[in-house]
Every structure is written in structure tokens, then in C-alpha cells.
Amino acid sequence: MPQDLPAAVARNLDLGHGHFLLEFFAPQAAAEMVPGQFFMIGIPGAEVLLRRPFSVCGLPGTFADAPEGSVQVLYKVVGRGTALLSSLRPGAPLTALGPLGRGFDLEVASGVRPLLVAGGIGSAPFPALAAGLAARGTRPALVYGARSAGDLPLLDWFRERCDAVTVATEDGSLGRRGLVTEPLEDLLAGAGATRIYGCGPSPMLRAVAAIARSRGIPCEVSLEAHMACGFGVCLGCVVATHAGGGGKPVYERVCVEGPVMPAERIAW
């Protein structure tokens, strides 16, 4: 059950290239939260009115050095709200509403290999997911794509905690040059039973979903949308889906029916 808790910045680690790892204490959320779920985070007294949605990146067990009851959020500075967030020092007040939304399905049948596909900051929910999967006995593989080498936050963490990490950058500054889709195809070629988890920009997710469909591989993706409330009442965050059954797509709320949805549910 979501809770609106006044929190305070415990740490706001600058990871470089506009990426930050925010840590705050939310013991109840930390205990209940599922990877893929998110918080609506607000900055009291700041010029931005609405809270901003951020997936949980670190839950108990994700980061070795994380104090008990703390959670972590990985974010990138893209506008006013994230810029203000990045300026906060430890002790600064926050509001955090969560856990919100539908998380990833961590039940992976034995013999099935979980494969994470991340695009840039889309990797944010994956540390918690990778740790969660590992705790259930299967270290996932990761295909990590981005524009450039600087846009791959927490790469070292993933290399440590994932089964295999394949990097692709559009400018070729690290790993393979190009989009994640190419290494993904190669990996899947002749791989055993696999389950895909995707998070990143919509075009990437669409491509990944198409590949998964063509190979009949189960695939879940985490969507983004502009959100005002985060808990299902403003109807601002909708995405077109086939939930209505055949025929015309219906609009479902990314904040409640998502952000994680089975890829085939979405009317791409």
C-alpha cells in the first residue's frame, strides 16, 4: 500500500555525466517494494509544482554499502526538476510517495534465462531487478545500450552482479557500435529459453518487443509517461493497449496498470 512519507536526502551521489544516485530512508517501502515500482518524489519549496516519477533502483540487498531501511533512485538530469534534485545536499527535505505501480514479474521458471535490455538511464530499475533475480537463484544477463560511453551509469555494478554484460554505444565509444537490438539478436540466436525485461526510450522498447514477439519470447517493458499524480486519478499518463480485447485499443494508466507491462499488451 503506497505511503506518502516526508523524507530527507541521505546521499545524492554524482555519478558523472549528469547521473546521480539519490538515497533516502523509507523502511516500509524498502520492505514492500518490488523492482519496477516507482516513487513520486517532490521537493518542498521548489519552483516545480508536480512530483516526478522515479523507479526504485536500490532495495535492501542491491547495494552492499546501503544502510538498513534506505532505498536508492538513479536519475539523470534532463530538466528543471531533476536539476533541482541534483542540487540537493544531504539533509534537504523530500517527499516520496510509494511504492507505486506494477513492478516486474520475478518468477522465472527454472532453466529460463532472464535477459535485461537497458537503454541509457533506462537501466535505473535494473539493479534492484538483477539483485532480486539473483536472490531467487538466477543471475540475469544484460544488454546495455546508450548514445555514448558516458551514458552507461552503474556499468561496473552490472558487470559485477550480472551473468554477462554486452555494451553497445551509438558512437562506438564503448562496446559495439550501434543499437542494443543487434547484440540482442545475436544473443538470442541459439540461446535457450529466455525471458526479456526491457527499459529505455520508447523506440528501443518497441524494437525489443518486436524481436521478442518474432521469437515468441516473453517480454516485459517499463514505460515512461508524463505523470501528475502517479496513483491513478489524473488519467494523464495513459498508453494505448489491447487490454480492451480485440478491436480498438484502450487507454490504460502507466502509473497503475504499468509502468511495467507485458510487451504484447501495448498497442505500439
Partner: protein, 311 residues
């Protein structure tokens, strides 16, 4: 010290306190159960109901603006039948006044919804949304044209015995004019304001941010405009006024009440602080205690301008 009396009467509609939640910002109420006790509210106004379900506008539907937000939801809703069958029974379990917000594209559609609601158990009042800026037909067309407003108000008045509230559009030259029409055609009260038509541009993509191009502006940004509209209307009509627009806290609500609002609605604030409306009600009680005022009714319209002579 006695606890102050927050109860108010909006015409025939009796409320335990003057704080309602605004239509479209509170879902069907049940979504808020994790955050507050509905019984602490004066009432809730549910999302606009149309004769049949509406899927609403494509995304993007919302965008933040300075101290506000634009929305173009397009009245996505389950339709009046599903509301009566599925939502209302659950709401009835809670000790809170439920107001249905009604939308139609034609007078006949407004009447159809009103008739269906009239026979439904557990409703306290009907609010006519004649001021939605985000739909092709209906909506604001009715709210900005006195003749059309007169027709729809009269027709709905004849279609229900429930207390009738006409929700006015602020996108007019003189809102007192439409308020007087609503009063003349039998509305028990008027509520204002609905959103102001606005637009945001994505300067990188060189497109409107919203798929609908324009949207309705809400939030603190519009409060001074809404307080002015409330002040104007409350002196132009005899029926009670429900004020809203950017209310985040009790002091904001007091601006409307002093300007002449018998009750207020809290909208956008619900998105930011799910328990905002309860906070407003508590804050009102605190203000009354502080100032040793027995009942909130004593405050309604008591703003002194030093120009009383002029009236």
C-alpha cells in the same frame, strides 16, 4: 476551547465541512483510501460522467507549467451506467457527500445522464460541467454561450430533483453574465472556476506538447484569477457559490470563502499531496479557533474593501 463548526449549506446541499474535491482530480474517490478517510471531507465530486464510456484524448495529455499544469484528458470516463453500477455502491459505504459531475455533447445527453443519476441511490448533488475546454463538441460551448447555457440548465433542472450546481467557465468576458443565467434557469448553486484554456509548446520538436494542442490550466497559477471570479459572481447572484482554483492549503481556501464562496473544491493539489483536501479542512478549523470564530459561515463573503459604499 470549543471545536469550531465547519458545516455549511450549499443551497439544499448540506455539507459537514466546506471542502470538496474537484471533479477529475479525485477519480471516483476510492483511489484515495490509502491516504485519507473520505468521511473527513465535506464531499467529493467525481470525474465527469457522460452517457456512454469515453476513451479520452491520445497522449500527451498533461504538461506542467509554472505553478500549474495543462490537461487535455478529454473526459475519459466509465460512463454513467458503470458509475452507478460499480462505483456508487462502494462509495455509499463511506459517510461522505457524493456529487456527480455531468458532461454531454448535446442537451439531450446532459438530460440522459441527469435522469439516470436522479434515480440512483447515494448521490447528494449533480454538477453540470458546461465548461470543459478539452472536448470537440459540448463542454465550453455551453459554458460561454448564455443562450445554450440557459437551455442545458433548464433541461437538467427539469430532469432531476437533486441539488443542481452549474460549473462555470472562466473563459468569458464577464462571468457574472453566465452565473446569472444559471441562477435564472433554476440552478441551486454555481461552482467556479473550471480550467483556463492554455497551450504549451515543445520548442525542440516545434510541436504543441499536448496532442490536443490546447489544454486547461489549473493549479496555484490561476488562484488570483479564480478568487476574482468568485468575488465577482458572489456579488452578482443570490445562490451560493462554490469556489476553486489553485487551492493548496487552508489560507488559499479562505481567500475564496472571504470573497464569497460558501464552499470550496480542491483539485490539482490532490495530485501533489493526496491528503491535501483533508489538510485544507483541518487548517480551516485551526484558523477559526485561532481567531475565535465559531462557525465558518460567519466568514463567507465578509471581505472588506473599504469601498462598501460603492455597492
Amino acid at each position: 476551547m470549543v471545536t469550531p463548526d465547519l458545516s455549511v449549506a450549499v443551497g439544499p446541499l448540506r455539507l459537514k465541512n466546506p471542502v470538496l474535491t474537484a471533479s477529475g482530480t479525485f477519480g471516483y474517490g476510492l483511489e484515495f483510501l490509502p491516504f485519507l478517510d473520505l468521511a473527513d471531507l465535506g464531499g467529493i465530486v467525481v470525474k465527469g460522467l457522460s452517457p456512454r464510456p469515453r476513451r479520452g484524448n491520445p497522449p500527451e495529455r498533461i504538461v506542467e507549467t509554472p505553478a500549474g499544469m495543462l490537461n487535455a484528458i478529454g473526459l475519459q470516463n466509465v460512463g454513467v451506467d458503470a458509475f452507478v453500477a460499480e462505483k456508487l455502491p462502494a462509495l455509499r459505504k463511506h459517510d461522505v457527500a457524493v456529487v456527480a459531475n455531468v458532461f454531454g455533447e448535446t442537451v439531450a445527453e446532459y438530460v440522459e445522464v441527469c435522469e439516470k443519476l436522479d434515480s440512483a441511490a447515494g448521490l447528494s448533488a449533480i454538477e453540470l460541467n458546461v465548461s470543459c475546454p478539452n472536448v470537440e463538441s459540448g463542454g465550453m460551448a455551453f459554458g460561454s454561450d448564455p443562450a445554450a447555457l440557459a437551455r442545458v440548465t433548464r433541461a437538467c433542472r427539469d430532469a432531476t430533483r437533486l441539488p443542481l450546481i452549474v460549473k462555470l467557465s472562466p473563459n468569458v468576458t464577464d462571468i457574472r453574465e453566465t452565473a446569472r443565467v444559471a441562477e435564472a434557469e433554476g440552478s441551486d448553486a454555481v461552482s467556479l472556476v473550471n480550467t483556463y484554456v492554455g497551450m504549451a509548446v515543445d520548442v525542440d520538436r516545434r510541436r504543441p506538447v499536448l496532442a490536443n494542442v490546447s489544454g486547461g490550466l489549473s493549479g496555484p497559477a490561476i488562484r488570483p484569477l479564480a478568487v476574482w471570479a468568485t468575488w465577482q459572481v458572489s456579488r452578482a447572484v443570490k445562490i451560493p457559490v462554490i469556489g476553486m482554483g489553485g487551492i493548496m492549503a487552508a489560507r488559499d481556501a479562505l481567500e475564496f470563502i472571504l470573497a464569497g464562496a460558501t464552499a470550496v473544491q480542491v483539485g490539482t493539489a490532490n495530485f501533489i499531496h493526496p491528503d491535501a483536501a483533508v489538510g485544507v479542512a483541518r487548517g480551516l478549523a485551526a484558523y477559526l479557533s485561532e481567531h475565535g470564530i465559531g462557525t465558518v459561515r460567519e466568514l463567507v463573503g465578509t471581505l472588506r474593501t473599504g469601498r462598501e459604499a460603492e455597492r
